[in-house]
Symmetry: C2
Subunit: 405 residues, 2 copies
């Protein structure tokens, strides 16, 4: 299912190919979100045209609406949303636990604002069987646990299902994290057992490494997940308060996984800022999903090769009111290549014309796709260190002359 | 500037070519709205791909934001919004008078809802010089009259500018309509005079026939506008309460214009329902603009060949919750041709995923483009009557085997 093609000699970075039910994915790869079964403001063909081979759908949201039975009756999530390439579905654990941890996920916040039915989701009970909660869609009591999460993902018939886990937050005790991580391991066994008996044969299952920011818990979790026999391994939960800590926690896990399960693919959950993607690739991550590029785009923030400003420019600022500049010189995205000026995008974003949000979203997804091309190209040309340094210094993705595609 | 290629022997219908600064437009043609300088949820390339050759921008909205000086500094509206084909701009008269007539235009309502700055637009004074009003954008006092409207349209540098007029509503007296229509004629002279001295040489100017539902006023207005020497003639103002009356009022005007100015192009303002387009073409209208297909799309209403239901299906209805059907069998639009089901569109529309609104908008614009293809093809094949009858009976545009393209 996963073949490592080239390994970097100086880091854990690697280039590989995931072979999934709906096709191949060249890694390292970024995975755009189709949270509720749609790429916000975009069509599947738009994301395909940028070179993306894998997207992520959300079990929690699709469970509540339109419901897995509707998606299954229409032939599964690929057929439902007319995306012909591979899909990964998350387990719903992150969203369902976010309701209780007080760190409500942005996805849920977004939904609440829009649904406007006065019924917020809420956790009713957490026990060994899973989580009982109230649906934000219709206020009904619902349940999500290891078996039901796998059942929903089987109905969605994604290429990769994630095992049901508790995404442990940062502010809990070591004691809590330890107990939660243990339960996540037990849930992984139940997920694999349910999937072995009832799941689609062509669906891969990834276990999730938890353990918070505790070195020994992370290593223990990596070992438990590697031992489970799952097809791939995701890294979830809090990674700390700062980027340096996040990169360190990731490196603990990937070093351990390189020892225990070097041939299995590794996914980093919910991380997608430019410097984090570069570091993640160096630490041997194969795939990343994150709302960042698309969400920033909808807020008028465009990605540019400017490390001093977190690779972002805010197009809603009045500085751009009369600017003839494109978002990024030489960029081949549908916004820049067709000559849309910052002035025009500024105007669209300010006046609520959604064409603006669409164009910036496309630009951001192109930026990230080209960044990953360069990182893959750097590994294949055995000069990842130089490529990463260039990108970190403000090199323009896609224009370094190292793109793998 | 306008060449009639084929005239129908049984009606005033005709096929022609408009030669404008940014290219040619085959007529009869429908003109999608880019009210605020953007095709809502779409990019220019999307509308081009459907075969559209002409779009309409709105002087009133673009005056208030981003302002004609910004658009002019960026090279004009074509360059600003990156649309390479011809653009027609309306005069702003409709929007500015709508604030006072109590029949607030939907465009303005839409804007008010979104702007959320607590400042609605309002008319402060109407006199011979034009209209003073308060901007809905920033509450500033602004002015729009014949000269200023032409000045804004010169800055936008559209291919076709419309003369500043009062769009007389239905509920006023004959007396009011008569006086208003006279003033519109005086304004037309001032528009042409300003444009002759200051306007771009490659910009055409259309005068607007008013006169409400009064036979003699409409004929008098047609004569006055035809005598003015404008490049083309638009029909505006109320056309009555019912479709039959609307079609009759249009036919009064076009019959008179056929006598007085048969070689000049004729535009019907704000009309775009399927049966109205068919009747309009039969009455010799060359171009139509209307918010209908795009606005319906954003509300989840898709156009289908179903005359009994006003050519509409409401995809937000729960009847479609599990429907595998496309919007329309055999349709070549980006929604139908790529296999999006009614169930998926229903789900997207219900859950606020804007990809749904985008897809239905594209479908509707394709439906109308193919309808006009068929009508052009019918005229060229000297069998418009049969084609129109087939379309009125529920024939599918684009599948009748008469398309001109």
């Amino acid at each position: 299912m996963f073949t490592v093609r080239t390994r970097c000699s100086e880091s854990l970075a690697r280039v590989g190919t995931l072979r999934l039910a709906h096709g191949e994915v060249q890694t390292p790869a970024f995975v755009p979100l189709a949270t509720k079964g749609a790429l916000k403001l975009l069509e599947p063909r738009d994301v395909e045209a940028l070179g993306y081979e894998l997207i992520l759908g959300n079990t929690f949201h699709l469970l509540l609406a339109p419901g897995p039975e509707v998606v299954a009756a229409l032939g599964g999530l690929n057929e439902f949303m007319r995306w012909e390439r591979p899909i990964i579905t998350d387990s719903g654990g992150f969203q369902v636990f976010s309701m209780g941890h007080g760190t409500v996920a942005d996805e849920i916040k977004g939904r609440r604002g829009r649904a406007g039915n006065g019924q917020d989701g809420a956790i009713l009970a957490i026990d060994e069987s899973g989580v009982r909660f109230r649906s934000y869609v219709d206020g009904r009591e619902r349940m999500l646990g290891p078996e039901s999460s796998m059942q929903v993902q089987a109905a969605l018939h994604s290429d990769i299902a994630l095992a049901f886990d508790e995404c442990t937050p940062f502010h809990v005790t070591r004691e809590y994290t330890a107990r939660s991580t243990e339960r996540t391991h037990r849930w992984l066994e139940r997920c694999l057992s349910w999937h072995g008996e009832h799941g689609p044969a062509d669906q891969a299952v990834y276990g999730i490494v938890q353990g918070g920011v505790e070195y020994d818990l992370r290593l223990g979790s990596a070992a438990a997940v590697a031992a489970s026999g799952c097809d791939g391994i995701a890294i979830g939960g809090t990674l700390g308060r700062e980027k340096a800590q996040m990169h360190e926690v990731v490196s603990w896990v990937t070093r351990e996984l390189e020892r225990l399960a070097p041939e299995r693919p590794r996914h980093l959950l919910g991380i997608g800022e430019v410097d984090d993607l570069i570091a993640g690739v160096e630490h041997g991550i194969d795939t990343f999903d994150c709302a960042m590029p698309t969400r920033l785009g909808r807020h008028g923030m465009a990605l540019v090769p400017d490390p001093k400003h977190r690779w972002r420019v805010d197009l809603t600022k009045s500085a751009w009111r009369a600017s003839e500049l494109p978002i990024l010189d030489g960029c081949a995205c549908p916004a820049c290549a067709r000559g849309f000026s910052r002035a025009y995008l500024h105007y669209l974003l300010r006046s609520g014309e959604l064409t603006g949000q669409r164009l910036v979203t496309l630009h951001n997804l192109n930026f990230i796709a080209r960044l990953l091309d360069d990182l893959r190209g750097g590994i294949e040309a055995t000069r990842l260190e130089a490529v990463a340094a260039e990108l970190r210094a403000g090199g323009t993705p896609g224009l370094l002359g190292v793109g793998a595609d």
